[in-house]
């Protein structure tokens, strides 16, 4: 459809026959021109630093020791793979991302189903539910760490006191769970909104037909609603994972990666190595390893994304 627009909306000027190639090229550049500023900007700000990261990763360089920079080849990478903390941070990243995305999606589907009915105060409840996503993550993490999870004065222990929670210290005894809880709280609204949009795009006639055919609620959900939602769920999981993999705020504020390194994820560990240890070479090598890991996962994910977005264009 879009090519259509281009040829009909803007009539090509009459071109002298001997210059068809040149004018075609000029037309090409005219089309490209509006795109270039954004493209050049994105390349400059994202790709160049990454190339520099690649170079740094081949050097040993400590920021606090000027002149310590020297080429060491791949030895940073050898160190990274031998680093037990790096492996733990990688594992934590997977646990945090998978845990948050899965739980948030399950809650999101449940909430979306509840919100996809007519009832008193529906828009109010929807507003309440999306709010955690709008709260500044740093603010949310601080609220969770203090007023919610504090062992003595926190609400969570107060609510759980009939079950003998006592003064359980969540952020130091169960750091990963605390971080995941704060993240699930933040990301459930995101999943709810996406799934709700999916539910509302469902054809009412199909649902009614199913009802007429005598399908029960469970059956209708399993064979009609769930397949229809699939695209929305995939999209939510994918986009959620892109953001949650980079989680930094909650860990920085709630646990500082601790106790020890128990709740350190890759972004936080690399931050520590770069800005507390000033070890540029090591931090860069870790960054490169993370990117390679991301590329593997993202290539699979992007295929999916393109299936949901671009297919419908043509």
């Amino acid at each position: 459809m879009s090519t259509d627009v281009a040829t009909t909306a803007v009539p090509r000027p009459a071109v002298p026959a001997r210059e068809p190639v040149r004018s075609a090229r000029r037309e090409g550049w005219r089309r490209r021109a509006p795109l270039l500023p954004a493209l050049v900007f994105a390349i400059l700000v994202t790709q160049i630093p990454f190339l520099v990261t690649l170079w740094y990763s081949l050097n040993s360089w400590n920021l606090v020791r000027p002149g310590s920079e020297r080429f060491v080849g791949l030895s940073n990478y050898a160190d990274v793979f031998a680093d037990r903390v790096f492996r733990q941070a990688a594992l934590n990243t997977i646990v945090i991302t998978a845990g948050c995305v899965i739980v948030a999606m399950l809650l999101g589907v449940a909430l979306a189903l509840l919100l996809d009915r007519k009832f008193v105060g529906r828009s109010v409840v929807r507003t309440l539910i999306i709010t955690p996503f709008l709260i500044m993550p740093v603010a949310g993490a601080l609220v969770w760490k203090t007023t919610m999870l504090d062992p003595l004065f926190g609400i969570v222990n107060f609510v759980l006191s009939p079950f003998g929670a006592g003064d359980y210290d969540w952020t130091s005894s169960a750091p990963l769970i605390s971080v995941i809880a704060a993240l699930v709280w933040q990301w459930t609204p995101f999943m709810t909104l996406l799934v709700l949009a999916g539910l509302q795009s469902q054809g009412r006639d199909v649902l009614e037909a199913a009802q007429v055919d005598g399908a029960g609620a469970a059956r209708t959900f399993r064979s009609i609603t769930l397949p229809h939602l699939r695209r929305y769920i995939e999209l939510g999981v994918l986009l959620g994972a892109i953001y949650v993999v980079n989680t930094f705020d909650q860990i920085y504020i709630m646990t500082q990666g601790g106790p020890g390194t128990a709740s350190s994820n890759l972004p936080f560990y690399i931050y520590q190595r770069a800005f507390l240890g000033f070890d540029v070479g090591q931090a860069a090598a870790m960054g490169v390893v993370v990117v390679i890991g991301t590329i593997v996962v993202a290539t699979l994910a992007l295929r999916l994304l393109f299936r949901s977005f671009v297919q419908e264009d043509r």
């Binding site: 009909t8 090409g28 954004a38 539910i129 740093v138 892109i242």
Partner: protein, 280 residues
């Protein structure tokens, strides 16, 4: 309604009622940390630490007043500047790019889209070190313009995808008609397309504002006293954390307020923005 009809509708209506109550309870549970944050912001410090947590207290504005005595203004001004300028820049770059990808598509449109989205997947930690070193060399550390540039790059891919999806919705016939009437490109852009994509522009701007206002990682690593933004103001409470909950709650409330209000007002646009235009 007759008694018989009520009797038939009874169980069904009761279960619908139960579901409604359940939905309300879950909604309130989700909202509770926010509610408690706001309540705590209006407490005296002594009322913020009670076991069990107290709901009966004399409300006070003391905490909010204290925030500005503690020097909250510069942080808010920096956040406001970085958010507004980066959002305007994003739109200035993304709208023409989206035009080139939707209305008069360049060759390899898919590759370009793929490139933009792949920059969003690049983990920030992989580029923070060189950005820090380069910014240090050119004297751009602790400079709010550095944040502007980075936030622009951070939001650009989302904005390109969103604006493309909005521009694609303009029916071909409308543009044809404009061309037939002899409208110039400028006129077509301003008089025909702009009014049609205005809601899309607003939705895109909203998403950019949310992400820029809430951003923490770049801000904590690249700024110090001069260019620090609101999240850093909040983090400042961590040193004495455990002592000033009411103060902290007031700061967190104030910091979150602009985005929460904007998001509440523009709930419809939010879905489309968060899915980068995929969900209409």
């Amino acid at each position: 309604m007759t008694a018989a009809a009520v009797a038939v509708a009874g169980p069904r209506r009761r279960s619908a009622g139960l579901l409604t109550v359940l939905t309300w309870i879950i909604g309130i549970v989700f909202f509770f940390p926010v509610l408690w944050m706001v309540i705590t912001a209006f407490k005296h410090e002594a009322d913020a630490y009670t076991d069990p947590p107290s709901l009966i207290f004399t409300p006070t504005l003391e905490q909010f007043r204290a925030l500005f005595d503690a020097g909250a203004w510069p942080y808010f001004l920096n956040s406001l500047f970085a958010t507004t300028v980066s959002t305007l820049l994003v739109l200035a770059l993304a709208v023409p790019a989206a035009y080139a990808l939707a209305i008069r598509p360049v060759k390899k449109t898919q590759d370009v889209l793929f490139f933009f989205i792949s920059t969003k997947m690049l983990p920030v930690v992989a580029v923070i070190v060189p950005i820090y070193v380069i910014a240090g060399r050119i004297g751009a550390l602790d400079n709010v313009w550095t944040l502007v540039v980075l936030y622009t790059a951070m939001n650009l891919p989302i904005a390109v995808w969103m604006m493309r999806s909005f521009l694609q919705e303009i029916p071909a016939e409308v543009l044809e008609a404009a061309a037939m009437d002899g409208a110039s490109l400028r006129q077509t852009l301003l008089k025909v397309m702009l009014p049609m994509v205005a809601p899309g522009l607003a939705a895109t701007a909203l998403i950019c504002v949310i992400f820029a206002w809430n951003e923490f990682f770049f801000a904590v690593n690249l700024t110090a006293s001069q260019a620090a933004t609101v999240p850093l103001f909040l983090v400042g409470f961590m040193t004495s954390e455990g002592l000033y909950w009411a103060q902290l709650a007031a700061a967190a409330t104030l910091a979150s307020l602009p985005v929460v209000l904007a998001g509440w007002v523009a709930q419809k646009q939010l879905v489309r923005g968060l899915s980068m235009g995929a969900i209409k």
